[in-house]
Amino acid sequence: MAIDELEKKLRPPERGLPPYPAKMIKLASGEIMVVREARREDIGALLGTVYPLIEVAKDYYDIVAARMYNELLAWYRYRIANEFAIVGAIDGEIAGIVTSRDVDGKLGMSLHTMTIKRGLRVGAQLFAAKMEHHIEYCKEDEVWIVAESPIGFKRWMIEYELEDRSAQYPAVRHELGGVPTFALTRKLWDAVKAVKCTGTRPVPPEILKTADKLKMPNEYVQLPGWKRNG
């Protein structure tokens, strides 16, 4: 597609982030979840997965889904800089998605964590993968994090013992609307990664292949009775 001069001006500058190597995690159920970086060709499936949850008010799925939809669409249409998404897939079906972005090579801006398959700490594993990408692969010094839901607050702010930077507002200001900002520093990450982050690499090709073409879930526990194409 030709990119005209105006479009060039509208697109954000991209730094080009290092790749996040895929890994696999055996969940408590015994199911294998492949955790890999999302590709541009995955975005349709990701948007289709997130969209139905915009109607779920419980646990702030509506806000997270709407914002994540925006972030994925903005990535697809070149309206956000240095964003990445990591997806967890079980037998190819999307179990969870995280979004995030690099600000300047030193600072990461955690965007959202969406758990589709609940009860197996899928969200916790994907959040850890997101932090792993920021600190270990993108080599950032710290990541700024906010939470919309009490569940998120417990999982990230409490369990990771994140630094509360809210008193430094507005100097420290997360991009998501001025809500209290917390930070995961490299030091904090080093302290918790052994108990928070796991996964086996490399992923055997036959397992990685199951997550090559992502499938949207047909049902959601968050939407009782809802069926895709139903």
Partner: protein, 399 residues
């Protein structure tokens, strides 16, 4: 001589997250379910007494006088109704009060309904609320919570008897397998021993909560309700109910020191043993007669300890029975066929009634395929209030 007292109706909601619902509505749901099971909602007019089991609605839901509210919600005025609070044994205590009301001659039909909505608060706040049952100065103010207690308790047991973390995981695997088949269970997800104990990722997938207790050694925080209808089997009213009664053959309680450190041996749960002994004596049976048991396992170590105190295993040997599959459905003594508190969930005030509902389902032969114990005769429930300091044991019989 006390009349024969039986259970003619059972009700239960799906355990899980009901924090969007009103506590009284959730309890009424199971109460109505029990009435329907017994023969229809019109039978509520035959109820002489209502007991409601609940531990902490005042803190979780900012609501008190739950029994009065339930009566109005169910259009049951002027039926007498009282709230029974005995920590996480509130449900079983409410059943015991119902039994005593009938045995005393003051009632022929008693509705016991119990419930708790805990997920209105965060997990750590729920843990804090439950911890208020510990001794204020000696325990709670020192920062002890129930998971903290159970962690120390488990460590002591490990040192004394050789229990391993893998043994704890085996209990969880068994409980989750049962819960996966139980339509009422909170966590209907089977888990594998490789994923939560043996595999390279188990340390993260099954993280520590209070070392050596891990996530899969600990019950979830759960909302839910359950109800039973007790009837004097020798009264004319008994004929109004369509279901054949499951008889309460024995029901007894016992207490122990409030402070755990005042016990001679913290690993000895005197109140469990004594309440079980009294219930056995009342029923005229012994441990070998029990076909199926629901044992209070807010932490899986309690399933093991309780199974020793009630006489299913020698002291320090219960985990060997788990290794040998003796507590699985089809084993010598199936324990926590419902999934237990571990996987079915533990809405604290409701648990004791939920355990009894499961036993009735088993004794009637109404449990789901794959979860039904073959031809059970007697079922036992042990419901734990506090850290083993106020325990109710119930034995049901299929006559």
């Amino acid at each position: 001589m006390a009349p024969r007292i039986g259970i003619v109706g059972i009700g239960h909601c799906r355990f899980g997250n009901s924090s969007d619902y009103d506590l009284v509505d959730v309890i009424a749901y199971s109460a109505n379910d029990a009435l329907e099971d017994a023969g229809g909602l019109a039978l509520r007019k035959e109820v002489d007494q209502v007991f409601v089991g609940n531990m902490a609605a005042g803190m979780f839901n900012h609501q008190t006088a739950v029994a009065s509210a339930l009566i109005s919600r169910m259009d049951m005025e002027p039926c007498p109704a009282e709230l029974i609070e005995n920590g996480p044994a509130s449900g079983a205590s409410a059943i015991r009060m119902g039994y005593m009301a009938i045995a005393s001659g003051m009632a022929d039909v008693v509705l016991v309904a119990a419930g708790e909505i805990m997920r209105t608060v965060s997990g750590w706040e729920a843990t804090n609320i439950v911890a208020t049952m510990a001794h204020t100065e000696a325990e709670y103010n020192m920062g002890l919570t129930l998971p903290g207690f159970a962690g120390m308790f488990t460590r002591l047991y490990m040192q004394k008897y050789g229990l391993t973390e893998r043994d704890l995981a085996l209990v969880a695997v068994k409980d989750h397998a049962n819960a996966a088949l139980n339509k009422y269970a909170h966590v209907q997800i089977p888990v594998t021993i490789e994923a939560i104990a043996d595999g390279p990722e188990a340390n993260v997938v099954n993280n520590y909560v209070a070392e050596p207790l891990r996530m899969y050694s600990t019950c979830p925080i759960t909302d839910g309700s359950a109800a039973v209808i007790l009837v004097n089997m020798d009264s004319p009213k008994a004929k109004l109910f369509k279901k054949k009664p499951i008889r309460i053959a024995g029901i007894a309680s016992a207490t122990d020191t409030h402070c755990v450190h005042n016990r001679k041996d913290p690993l000895v749960l005197d109140a469990v043993r004594l309440s079980a002994e009294k219930a056995y004596k009342m029923a005229g049976i012994g441990p070998a007669d029990i076909s199926v048991a629901e044992l209070h396992d807010a932490f899986v170590i309690f399933e093991l300890l309780n199974s020793e105190e009630v006489g299913f295993f020698e002291r320090g040997k219960s985990f060997l029975g788990v290794r040998n599959h003796e507590t699985e459905i089809g084993g010598r003594i199936p324990i926590n066929t419902s999934g237990g508190l571990k996987a079915k969930g533990h809405p604290v005030g409701a648990t004791g009634v939920s355990q009894v509902v499961e036993l009735v389902r088993q004794l009637r032969g109404e449990a789901e395929e794959g979860r039904q114990v073959k031809d059970p005769k007697y079922g036992m429930a042990v419901n734990f209030g506090g850290f083993g300091n106020n325990v109710v044991t119930t034995i049901l019989a299929k006559d």
